[in-house]
């Protein structure tokens, strides 16, 4: 059972998360055109090895984490919170 190191909750088992695949693709700006949206929605580099991917900690802090995980070994190198949480630090 994989552990995802949530920066907020600590390492948690994979079944607290929902998966959303490739985090290297970014939603294009609205006027970027159909090809850009096509790539965003459909085109995947799908590497064997290190992969940047979205995991939602739905049963924990509810944050979408960007996780660096190896698709061959399942090793996890790190997980970062979403941009929206970055500036928010608690004193």
């Amino acid at each position: 059972m994989q552990l995802i190191p949530c920066p907020f909750c600590g390492a948690r088992p994979e079944d607290e998360f929902h998966y959303r695949g490739d985090a290297s693709v970014q939603r294009p700006l609205p006027d970027a055109g159909e090809q850009a949206f096509y790539d965003y929605v459909y085109t995947r580099s799908n590497p064997r090895g290190w992969h940047s991917e979205w995991w939602s900690h739905y049963a924990g802090c509810g944050q979408w984490l960007k996780v660096e995980r190896n698709t061959m070994t399942h090793e996890v190198r790190g997980a970062a919170g979403p941009p929206a949480t970055l500036p928010r630090t608690l004193a």
Partner: protein, 199 residues
């Protein structure tokens, strides 16, 4: 399984629902620090960091998500608690009533850890989950907050109210061989309702 878990005193465990007033407090963008200060000013309470919960004179607070806390107080008239929190958080965050939306279920007794371990993957050993610990996780397949309430040990399980019955059933089943006492819940507000209602 230690020897003490195996013995079955009459009711080694108690399960009951705690009536609480609840409000989810969510900081607006970039305002978490100011919100924390405002809450400190109003309630004399430091909003806890991730993985923690704190009790205060008037309200308790449990970390839920970055910039999000569950605030908790004694049962009161509908909307009153939320209004109190909203007033303190004015302009800095949203206060959303959850008094009916979440149930706080107490599981208390020596075997509580062993019972929870049957459907919760958190490490609840005192070294890993000591006083003041709180975590959002899954219990019995549903999203659930878990707090260590005291060293009995007692745990508070905070769950969507529509899953409360499910969770209690699961707790009772998991606790059965230890002996368990279940006290039917009082719903929040009921006591605060005017005696002569419209009905």
């Amino acid at each position: 399984m230690s020897a003490s878990d195996r013995s079955r005193p009459e009711s080694a465990l108690a399960v009951f629902e705690r009536p609480r007033s609840l409000a989810l407090l969510i900081a607006r963008k970039d305002k978490a620090d100011r919100l924390a200060a405002a809450i400190r000013a109003s309630f004399g309470l430091d909003l806890p960091p991730p993985g923690r919960w704190v009790t205060g004179a008037q309200v308790d607070a449990t970390w839920i998500q970055p910039g999000g806390w569950l605030l908790e107080g004694e049962p009161s008239a509908p909307g009153a608690f939320r209004a109190l929190v909203a007033a303190a958080a004015e302009g800095l965050g949203a206060a959303v009533d959850q008094s009916s939306g979440r149930s706080v279920i107490r599981l208390a007794g020596a075997p509580a850890r062993a019972v929870l371990a049957t459907f919760c993957r958190l490490d609840l050993h005192p070294r890993a989950f000591g006083p003041g610990s709180a975590a959002m996780t899954r219990v019995a397949h549903v999203v659930c907050g878990v707090r260590l309430a005291d060293a009995t040990p007692s745990f508070d399980l905070i769950v969507a109210s529509t899953y409360a019955r499910w969770l209690i059933e699961e707790l009772l089943e998991a606790s059965a061989r230890h002996g368990v006492r279940f006290e039917p819940a009082l719903k929040p507000y009921r006591s605060a309702m005017p005696a002569s209602g419209p009905m």
